[in-house]
C-alpha cells in the first residue's frame, strides 16, 4: 500500500520497450506481478511473467449487457478499460478458509488460518479501481474490527496505476470524480502515449517505494512535450465518457424515493442473478459455510462472496426480510449511492460501469437514478 505520497510528484518517461524491465524489477523485489490478461474472450487480471501476456493491441467495447473485444490498429499495452474482474478478488478472496476446529473429547480447539500475506504488484490499476480500493479500505480496515486477510494483502500490495486515455461505453468516472486520472494511492502511475514513431509511458512517482523501484528500470527525464501528450490522452478519455450520473442531492433523492413505483419497474426486468454485485469493485458482502470431514472430528469455516440479490441474504427465522426483487434492487442501489455515504463518508460507486456491462438485461444504474429523478419533477410535491 503506497505511503508518503507527496504533492509535487516527480514525472519521468519509460519507453514501451522498457516495460518488461519494470515487470522484472518488481519480480526481483519479491512481488507476484498481476496484470490484465486475455482469457475466454475477456480481459481479466492474472499473474503474468512477461509483457507478452498482456492484451497488447486489444481493446474492448462496452454497452448495457454487452462486451466485445476488438483488435486495435496500434500496439497499445493498456488500450482498453475494465473487464469483469476487479482487484478485489486478490485483496478480498472470493472463497477463504477462516479457521479450522478440532473436536477433542468434549473440547473444541479452534485453529486460526495463518496467512503469510502474498506480495502482489498490481499492474494496470485504473483510477476508478484505485478509488474502489480506498473505499474497501474503509470497510475492512477503518472500523473497530479489521479484516486481517484484507489488511495483510493490502498493506503488501505495490500499485502501478494506469491513467485512462480512452473511456468505455459504460464508464462514468468523471461523474463520480474518480477518474480518468489517478490522484492518489499509487506507487507509480503510468500514462501511455502511442504514436506512429514513438510509444512511451509518462510515469508519475507516488511513493518512496515507487521511486526506489525505478532506480532499477531505465528511464529518462520527462520533457514538456511528453507531458503535454500525456495530458492530452487523459483529456481525450474525459471527453469520451459513455455515461453520466447526476449525483447532485442523490442521497436524499434516493431516501425520499424509497417507495417510488419505479423500483417495481426495475424488478420486472431484474433477473436477480447477482452479476452486478460480483463484478462491482466495492461490493464486499460475504456469507459463511461449514465444511466437516467424514470422521466428524474436524470442521472448517469458509467465507464466500455473497450478494444482497439472493433470497436468503436477509433470512431470519420465519422468512426473508427482502422477499421482492424490487426491495433487493432498491437496497443495492440505495446502499451504493446513499447509505454508503452515511456509513463510510463516500459514495459506494466509482463509476466503473461494470454492473451495466455485465447485467444480462442491461439494467443501468445511471439510467435508473435518472428515471427516479425525473419521476419526481414530473409529479407534484
Amino acid at each position: 500500500m503506497p505511503k508518503n505520497a507527496s504533492n509535487d510528484r516527480k514525472l519521468v518517461v519509460l519507453e514501451a520497450a522498457q516495460f518488461q524491465a519494470l515487470l522484472r524489477a518488481l519480480q526481483d523485489g519479491g512481488y507476484s506481478t498481476v496484470a490484465p490478461t486475455l482469457k475466454e474472450g475477456a480481459i481479466v487480471y492474472d499473474e503474468v511473467a512477461t509483457v507478452d501476456e498482456l492484451p497488447v493491441g486489444k481493446t474492448d467495447e462496452h454497452a448495457g449487457g454487452s462486451y466485445r473485444l476488438k483488435t486495435r490498429k496500434d500496439k497499445a499495452v493498456f488500450g482498453y478499460v475494465v473487464g469483469p474482474h476487479s482487484w478485489k478478488k486478490f485483496l478480498h478472496p472470493p472463497t477463504l478458509r477462516l479457521w479450522q476446529v478440532r473436536r477433542n473429547g468434549n473440547g473444541l480447539e479452534f485453529v486460526h488460518t495463518q496467512e503469510q500475506p502474498p506480495k502482489y504488484a498490481f499492474i494496470g490499476v485504473r483510477p476508478c479501481e484505485l478509488s474502489a480500493m480506498q473505499i474497501q479500505d474503509k470497510v475492512f480496515m477503518a472500523g473497530e474490527f479489521a479484516d486481517p486477510i484484507y489488511q495483510g494483502r493490502r498493506e503488501n500490495a505495490f500499485i502501478v496505476a494506469v491513467n485512462c486515455s480512452q473511456a468505455g461505453g459504460t464508464c462514468f468516472c468523471v461523474s463520480m470524480k474518480t477518474g480518468p486520472k489517478a490522484q492518489s494511492g499509487f506507487d507509480l502511475c503510468l500514462t501511455e502515449v502511442v504514436e506512429k514513431k514513438s510509444h512511451f509511458f509518462v510515469v508519475e512517482i507516488g511513493s518512496d517505494r515507487g521511486a526506489a523501484l525505478l532506480q532499477d528500470v531505465p528511464h529518462s527525464e520527462a520533457t514538456p512535450e511528453h507531458l503535454q501528450k500525456a495530458s492530452a490522452a487523459v483529456e481525450q478519455a474525459a471527453s469520451q465518457m459513455g455515461k453520466t450520473l447526476d449525483v447532485s442531492d442523490v442521497k436524499d433523492l434516493l431516501y425520499r424515493n424509497a417507495e417510488s413505483p419505479h423500483w417495481e419497474d426495475v424488478a420486472r426486468r431484474c433477473l436477480g442473478c447477482a452479476n452486478c454485485t460480483m463484478v462491482c469493485p466495492t461490493c464486499f458482502c460475504t456469507t459463511v459455510e461449514e465444511v466437516t470431514d467424514l470422521t466428524g472430528g474436524n470442521a472448517e469455516r469458509w467465507r464466500k462472496w455473497d450478494s444482497c440479490f439472493t433470497s436468503d441474504f436477509s433470512y431470519v427465522h420465519g422468512g426473508s426480510i427482502r422477499t421482492s426483487s424490487s426491495a433487493r434492487y432498491r437496497h443495492w442501489l440505495t446502499h451504493k449511492l446513499a447509505a454508503w455515504d452515511d456509513q463510510f463518508g463516500s459514495s459506494g460507486c466509482v463509476g466503473c460501469g461494470r454492473c451495466i456491462t455485465w447485467c444480462p438485461v442491461g439494467i443501468d444504474i445511471t439510467a435508473e437514478v435518472q428515471t427516479i429523478r425525473s419521476s419526481e419533477t414530473s409529479k407534484p410535491k
Binding site: L98, W99, V101, R103, N106, G107, L108, E109, F110, H112, T113, V139, F140, G143, E144, F145, A146, D147, P148, Y255, A258, E259, F284, C285, T286, T287, V288, E290, T292, G296, A299, R301, R303, D306, C308, F313, S314, Y315, V316, H317, I321, R322, T323, S324, A327, H331, T334, H335, A338, A339, W340, D342, Q343
Partner: protein, 279 residues
Amino acid sequence: MNQMNSNPMLPRSFAINRVLKETYDTFTLDLAPAQRHTGFSFAAGQFNMLYVFGVGEIPISISGDPNDPGRLVHTTRAVGTVTKVMDKLKLGDQLGVRGPYGTSWPVAEAAGHDVVIVTGGIGLAPLRPAMYELLSHREKFGSVVLLYGARTPEDILYKREVKKWRSEFDLNVHVTVDRAAGGWRGNVGVVTAMVPKAPFDPYHTIALVCGPEIMIRFTVMELRKRGVPDDKIYVSMERNMKCGIGLCGHCQVGANFVCKDGPVFRYDRIKNLLEIREV
C-alpha cells in the same frame, strides 16, 4: 495464544456448566471459558456469536447478570438448523463464542426516570440483564414496569423469576398470553394492550422494547399515544448476521449495521426506516 486479536472471526471455546430447560422449545446455557477463567464482561442488551461444532454460528443475546461476569448465560429458542442442535448439547460440551458485540440498553441514562419494559416471547432474554441492572440499583429509578407477552402460559420464560418479580412491592409486572386453556387466571390478549393503563409517567419514562417487528411497531404506537417521546423509546432489532462485526454486510437496515450500530437503537434514529416496507 494471542490469536484472537489477529482474527476477529475466531471463536473461543466455552464449556457448558449448566443446562436449564425453560419451556418445551427454549433452553438456557451457562457457559465458562474452557481455557482460563477470565470472566466475561458485557453490557445489558449485547449479544454473542455462538458456534455449534460443524453446524454454524448464530447471534444470541446475553441473558445473564452483567454484575456476575463469572457466568455467561444464553437463552435460546430452538427454531432451526443451529438452535436445534444446540438444544441437544449436554453439560461439559463446548461451544465457540465471539463477543460481546453491539449496543446496549440505556440503563445509566434511565436513572431518575420511570422505566417501562415491553416484550414478547424470547424477547425477554435480552431484557433480563436490564432487569438485573434496574433491580441492583432500584433506588435510582422511578416506577419500574415490565409488560410481558407469551403465546401460552407454557411459553412464559423464566417463570420462577417472573413470579418473584411480580411479588415485589416496587415492581409492576404484568404478564399476558395470546391464548390459554383452563387454569390460567391471568391476562389474555396482546402485550401492547397493556401499555395504555400501565403505571408510568409518560413524560419521565424510558421505554425498552424487544420482540417481533410487528409487536415493536404497535408497542411504539401505544407508547407515543401516551406521550412518550420518540427519543425516550429504545428498540432492539433483529437481522440476519454472519459476522457480528460490521464486515459481512448481512445485517444492514438503511445505513445501519444492526450488529454494531444496534441491536439496540433509539427509536427516533430508525423510525423512518421502520416505516419502509422490506427495508
